[in-house]
């Protein structure tokens, strides 16, 4: 059974998700094909596959977003299946059409169900038809700031302006009063136009005490569907998720809401004859009311937490549905039982206070090990976080019997993790890499997080998570051992540089002459 040949799968993605898909595909007996851009010539995902095809320049639209080039690579490799991963072409119905035309099976939903649910405005109409709750807002795209203001008056401030084509917080603005509507509309619309090639916006009421909860579903493409439980992803910075967990703490307080959400999610999935893995995102308020937000017609970044508690492999399910094996004969999808708790955090190359992207070369990388710890990454040795793509470095997830134990495991895992830029001769860093690791280490010790009351404004409500300590406070807190360590470090460095003793080679790999050192000190450029 181990030498099955299930066909050739092209993975139209990069980074950790391409590797994650390749692992399962190889295990199932697929031949795997990678595609890569100029920037990813030496990418780990290229090595993870059996074959690899170059598809163009580093900019996504020249390579990973270029339908013709991806299809050409698929034909050249003889691929019969394409897995899109997440992002890039994963939610573009015209790519699905192109696959069908080329006689290649797209691992995911049909173009039709993608069109029905993928676009937020069409999705709202579907939700209204099914009589399910959604956040009050404009029925369709609004054309300008004045129209947005009219809707806002109707539903009441605060409101959210959101890009119709958007995701991940791009092209999104909170507006608290009428005077800010026009400028917010302009900014968000411009951002959306440059990011997604579409500037249309819609208006939505802002829910108070909001929790972001999503339901993982899986459809057979013929109206049959199962759910695989929920995920709460309320902790977000810049409207992007950074911590995802299951079960959702808010639904533990409102178990009836959980069941109602499962029912609603399955109703939608069946209605659009959805095929494969999909996610229905909802907002749940503090009182347990839920509102439909949008559907993601693809595998989610945070799918590992669902895999942890259900013991399932979502990519394997996707692939076996595509080959027809999952629903062959009288076989039906089975709702898995869920046990324990799982949490995932995303490690990004970004400033831990401003959350601005800070990609760059990596000098040292070390990931955690231990029972029920999983790391999804494409960076396994010193390399570089590319500035061309999303700056995510890794997803670290854990499982345990209870949420409390999972938090303990994740805390230790995060403390074990080291990601540092390369060092120069005096310890200063080479390149601009920063990571949010320090932020995550504070997050996992935060009382509000530990208590499970994780609303989407958690980061703003806990300024100590992102606060820089004043020099006076730091100076006062220095321990004896820290003081000795730092003085020792600097003196040894100085000594090994100037004395050039027998030890200088090992302590100082990029050794400089005293002349170079002197010129650096004087600020003279070499």
């Amino acid at each position: 059974m181990s030498t099955l040949n299930r066909g050739t799968l092209l993975i139209a993605n990069r980074g950790e998700i391409a590797i994650r898909v390749a692992r399962t595909a190889k295990a199932l007996g697929f031949k795997t094909v990678a595609v890569y851009s100029e920037a990813d010539r030496f990418g780990e995902h290229v090595r993870a596959c059996d074959e690899a095809y170059f598809i163009g320049e580093s900019a996504p639209k020249e390579s990973y977003l270029n339908v013709d080039k991806v299809i050409a690579a698929a034909k050249a490799s003889g691929a019969t299946f394409i897995h899109p991963g997440y992002g890039f072409l994963s939610e573009r119905p015209h790519f699905v059409d192109a696959c069908v035309e080329a006689g290649i099976t797209f691992v995911g939903p049909s173009a039709q169900s993608m069109r029905l649910m993928g676009d937020k405005i069409t999705a709202r109409k579907t939700i209204d038809q099914l009589n399910l709750p959604r956040v009050p807002g404009s029925a369709g795209a609004v054309k300008d700031g004045a129209e947005a203001a009219r809707y806002a008056k109707e539903i009441g401030y605060p409101i959210l302006l959101k890009a119709a084509a958007g995701g991940g917080g791009k092209g999104m603005r909170r507006v608290d009063s009428e005077k800010d509507v026009l400028s917010a509309f302009e900014g968000a619309s411009r951002e959306s136009l440059s990011a997604f090639g579409d500037g249309s916006m819609y208006v939505e009421k802002l829910i108070l005490e909001p929790h972001h909860v999503e339901i993982q579903v899986f459809g057979d493409g013929q109206g049959g569907a199962i759910h695989l439980g929920e995920r709460e992803c309320s902790i977000q910075r810049r409207h992007q998720k950074v911590w995802e967990e299951t079960p959702a703490p808010i639904l533990n307080r409102h178990p009836k809401t959980r069941e109602a959400m499962f029912t609603a999610a399955l109703k939608i999935t069946s209605h659009v004859n959805y095929a494969g893995a999909g996610t229905l995102e909802f907002i749940v308020d503090g009182a347990g009311h839920f509102y439909f937000l949008e559907m993601n017609t693809r595998l989610q970044v945070e799918h590992p937490v669902t895999e942890w508690v259900t013991g399932s492999d979502l990519v394997a399910m996707q692939l076996l549905l595509a080959t027809g094996e999952l629903t062959a004969g009288a076989k039906k999808l089975e709702t898995p039982t869920r046990s324990g708790a799982s949490i995932e955090v995303r490690i990004y190359a970004e400033d831990p206070r401003s959350f601005l992207p800070a990609p760059g070369p990596i000098g040292r990388i070390h990931f955690p090990y231990g029972p029920s710890v999983r790391v999804d990454t494409a960076l396994t040795e010193a390399g570089e976080v590319s500035m061309h793509y999303d700056p995510m470095i890794a997803k670290v997830s854990v499982w345990a019997k209870t949420r409390e134990e999972a938090i303990g495991r994740l805390r230790v895992a995060l403390d074990e993790t080291r990601i540092e830029p390369p060092k120069k001769w005096d310890g200063s860093k080479r390149g601009s890499l920063k990571t949010n690791l320090e932020f995550l280490q504070k997050l996992i010790r935060n009382p509000q997080v530990l208590g499970g009351n994780t609303t989407t404004d958690l980061i703003a409500a806990n300024p100590e998570l992102t606060m820089e300590l004043s020099p006076e406070v730091i100076a006062h807190a220095v321990t004896v051992e820290e003081a000795i360590a730092l003085s020792l470090h600097q003196l040894l460095l100085e000594q090994s540089l100037t004395a050039g003793g027998p030890d200088s080679g090992s302590a100082n790999p990029n050794s400089m002459s005293p002349w170079q050192l002197a010129s650096r000190r004087e600020g003279v450029r070499e």
Binding site: K170, G187, R190, E191, S194, A195, R238, L356, P357, A358, P359, R364, M387, D390, D415, R418, E420, K423, K424, W425, D426, G427, S428, K429, R430, G431, S432, E438, Q441, L469, P471, I474, A475, H476, A477, V478, V480, E481, E482, A483, I484, A485, L486, S487, L488, H489, Q490, L491, L492, E494, Q495, S496, T498, G501, D503, S506, A507, R520, R521, G523
Partner: protein, 177 residues
Amino acid sequence: MSSLNGVVGNRKIRWIKAPVGSTGSGEVDVDGKIYTVSWKRDSDGVWMQFAHGCFGFDIYGESEETGADLVFRISHRGTNHVTSGLRFKGAGEVAAAAAAPGGKKKALRVRAQMPGKIVRVLVKAGDEVVKDQPLLVMEAMKMENEIRAAGAGKIESVKVAEGQAVESGADLIVIGG
């Protein structure tokens, strides 16, 4: 900085003899108390053994700038307690800082943290700005980001125009002291 006397934060340090070697031992006076320490340096920092226990620290520079302004981030290997923004200041450096005229500030250079495009320029040369005031809107990694002033001062020069593409590290704005 080769002075053996100096400070780290509020701690006064005096090495009895200059420490030598990537493994070695010596004596150091901290705030009037003598500690005997043996150490081993590695690529990430230093391990130290005292009579009262063993301590390991990772030590990383916090900026790309080299020289006397470089501060370090130091993290305890067991507890992962992190302290940022520290530097061992030798006696000469401390004296120079004390003797420096009080009001003299260095010009602040606002640099691009990543490649991107300037969408808006919100200030012009001669403007007085306060700390955290927005200076520019830059589009990078598909997001619009406000670049804010790291400190107060008068804008000396604006080196970019709206619509211009900039490389990582490019000077954007100089704020005078």
